[in-house]
């Protein structure tokens, strides 16, 4: 809604509305109530003491330019902006600061992308103490140990993820909730690469990379492969699995490796090809034979990992729950931060603040870690 439309709906001149919004003219209660109706926002939200600090739409304008999904993306970027505003508001209320252990931005200009990606992925794994094994929960690692803010929201199917750096929040990533967990992991690692080398450039990551994509995209994909499937660990596991099958390379080996590393069979196969552990055309041959990774996994009794339904970063959810537990916000405000209704907020609160343990008789018991706040 434009200011012209809003001022007409409020029955005041546009300059007067601007003055109200800037705070140079005190708003009357009835005007505020009407403004909340016009903007479709709670009065409580309009009265937040911290000014809405996050304006990311402008940063994405150029990146959106030629996208066929520009309109839908623009709407979703507004949603991300609103979530980021809520996040900043929570931090303001809690009087806290965001956790971050951000490494300095790495300059990869004039370096060969594949090698630079391999080197940086190895450094990052060492820095985060990940060894050379699979990352059990990539989202948790990147949220808690790196300090990225990760949102899982439905994006257009052709878009894998978004990255934007917001001064008050740090590196923010949105990954496509419609995609399977394996693809989400890849996207997360890809966006992490952008964070490491081009933190101040917004990124819209398509599912399929254009044939002449910029070098940074090649770098980000190579980083994702190296970070998720480090050379030494993958090589060792590959040989172990192959030995277990009498030295033969079978699709089952690829499916099992993909499951262990929580990535797609295609990503695993291409990584093994790059490492020259399998013939260069293996993935093409599998595709030619109409190989279906999900069916193969099912035959092997391998369950696909459950996708997380948590739209909001864990740190965000915990901040909101703690504020509610301390009686600093109401149940209605908690529901607003959780973007659900009150009963949904109660359920989510309980899951965050209670932990299941085993009683002496072996039955499970819920231990409430917070005084119920009401």
């Amino acid at each position: 809604m434009t200011q012209q439309q809003a001022s007409a709906a409020l029955g005041v001149s546009r300059p007067l509305l601007v003055a109200i919004e800037k705070g140079t003219r005190e708003v009357r209660p009835e005007e505020l109530v009407r403004l909340a109706e016009i903007y479709g926002k709670p009065v409580n939200e309009l009265l937040r003491s911290a000014a809405p600090p996050v304006g990311i739409g402008g940063q994405f304008r150029t990146a959106l330019g030629s996208s066929p999904d520009a309109d839908e993306l623009s709407r979703l970027i507004s949603r991300l902006e609103s979530l980021a505003d809520d996040y900043v508001d929570l931090i303001h209320r809690s009087g806290g600061t965001l956790p971050d252990r951000y490494p300095a931005v790495r300059d990869i200009r004039h370096l060969e992308p594949e090698q630079a990606a391999e080197d940086l992925a190895s450094e990052e794994r060492n820095r985060l103490g990940l060894g050379d094994g699979p990352v059990p929960d990539l989202r948790e690692t990147l949220e808690n140990d790196v300090g990225l803010r990760i949102f899982v929201i439905p994006l257009p199917s052709a878009v894998a993820g978004l990255f934007v750096y917001i001064e008050l929040l740090g590196g923010c990533v949105a990954i496509n909730a419609k995609h399977p967990p394996e693809r989400r992991n890849w996207t997360l690692a890809h966006e992490y690469a952008h964070f490491l080398v081009a933190r101040h450039q917004v990124e819209i990551t398509p599912v399929r990379r254009a044939p002449r994509a910029p070098e940074i995209e090649q770098f980000a994909d190579a980083f994702a492969a190296s970070f998720l499937m480090p050379r030494s660990g993958l090589t060792r596991r590959f040989h172990e699995l192959k030995r277990g099958r009498g030295g033969k390379l079978t699709p089952a080996v690829l499916v099992q490796l993909a499951h262990v590393y929580r990535v797609s069979v295609q990503a695993t196969t291409l990584r093994l090809q790059d490492l020259k552990l399998i013939p260069a055309a293996t993935w093409n041959r599998l595709s030619d034979h109409n190989f279906r990774a999900r069916d193969a996994a099912r035959l092997l009794g391998i369950e696909s990992p459950e996708p997380t339904s948590d739209e909001l970063p864990l740190h965000y959810r915990v901040l909101a729950a703690e504020l509610y537990a301390e009686g600093e916000i109401t149940e209605g405000q908690l529901a607003g931060y959780f973007h659900t209704d009150r009963v949904g907020a109660r359920t989510l609160y309980e899951s965050l603040m209670a932990t299941r343990d085993v009683a002496a008789d072996g039955s499970s018991q819920v231990i409430d870690l917070a005084e119920s706040p009401a």
Partner: protein, 181 residues
């Protein structure tokens, strides 16, 4: 319709709606419930198990409005300044309920800790809680232990409600769950 009125905030309204016995609870308390439009808008949905699936059941106050046990009301102009003042601190539903309670001299019901604190700061009488209303209803209706437990279980399950330990009726609630654990 009873002469006495009680303003419900959204959290208490949700809990009472979860019982499916709002009319009887109003009758036991000898009140007509009032619900501000802002609180009505925040009620959302209960959760019900249909087969193995948890489904949302939108809360609809209409039958109780028709029965005359609940009235959905709007703020009047004189209440807007207090409403906006309260909305700086609490959500719109709580703010509207507190503003109306302050202006009309009508008691209110809320379990919300921050809202209760705000009532105290404004010098309003201590709000009624969900459990007090349920307990009064259980005693007035002379419900059996089994019936009371069913009533409380349905609030716990459909509304995800857990009373705070600070609630003076918390031991009463807990007494019905002790032999379930």
């Amino acid at each position: 319709m009873a002469d006495r009125q009680l303003l419900l905030d959204a959290c208490v309204a949700i809990n009472l709606m979860a019982t499916g016995r709002l009319d009887a609870i109003a009758s036991a308390a000898g009140v007509t419930f009032l619900l501000l439009r802002q609180a009505e808008a925040e009620a959302g949905a209960l959760r019900d198990l249909v087969g193995d699936e948890l489904v949302r059941t939108p809360i609809d106050f209409t039958p109780h409005v028709h029965a005359g046990t609940l009235r959905v009301v709007a703020l009047v102009a004189a209440e807007l300044p207090r409403y906006v003042e309260c909305a700086r601190l609490v959500d719109d539903g709580e703010a509207a309920t507190i503003a109306a309670a302050a202006n009309r001299g009508v008691p209110l019901a809320t379990d919300d800790r921050k809202a209760r604190r705000l009532c105290a700061d404004l010098g309003l009488p201590a709000p009624v809680r969900t459990l007090a209303l349920l307990r009064q209803y259980a005693e007035e209706a002379d419900l059996s232990r089994t019936d009371v437990r069913s009533l409380l279980l349905v609030v716990q399950r459909r509304a995800s409600f857990a009373p705070p330990r600070a609630d003076p009726d918390s031991p009463w609630w807990q007494g019905y769950f002790d032999d379930l654990t």
